[in-house]
Symmetry: C2
Subunit: 78 residues, 2 copies
């Protein structure tokens, strides 16, 4: 799975854990909802500034955002 | 400190830990050396695809790349 897809899945799973809609995440991150939808679908090469905005809106640090098996080369889960 | 500067410092510290020059990192990541220099200087909003290329060239996972106090909101180190 490519990194754009991994990022999209991670944002979606965190957003759903927080019971937020794409519209909520758009509001709190000040990022367009259609852009968030395309990132979640793995279609966008999101920048670090926007990943930080999303993380802040989700209430987690970047360290926590990337603290996941998807981002660990040693993982055998994929 | 803004996220672009934090990313730049992190790349530089990891690169120096590995005894790599900017030219080495450029070669192994297939990213232009002048682009790497400007990222290290906090001047570029690097994308996740390029962060992954840099991490692979540095021999670490994205999880390890972000596993640092700079990316932890709870840190008092800054």
């Amino acid at each position: 799975m490519d990194i754009k897809s991994k990022i999209g899945i991670r944002i979606k799973e965190l957003r759903e854990q927080k019971d937020m809609s794409q519209k909520d995440l758009s509001f709190f991150s000040n990022i367009d909802r259609s852009y968030i939808a395309s990132v979640e679908n793995g279609q966008r090469n999101i920048s670090i500034v926007n990943i930080e905005k999303v993380s802040i809106a989700l209430g987690i640090s970047l360290k926590e955002f990337f603290n996941n098996d998807k981002f660990d080369n040693d993982s055998r889960s994929c």
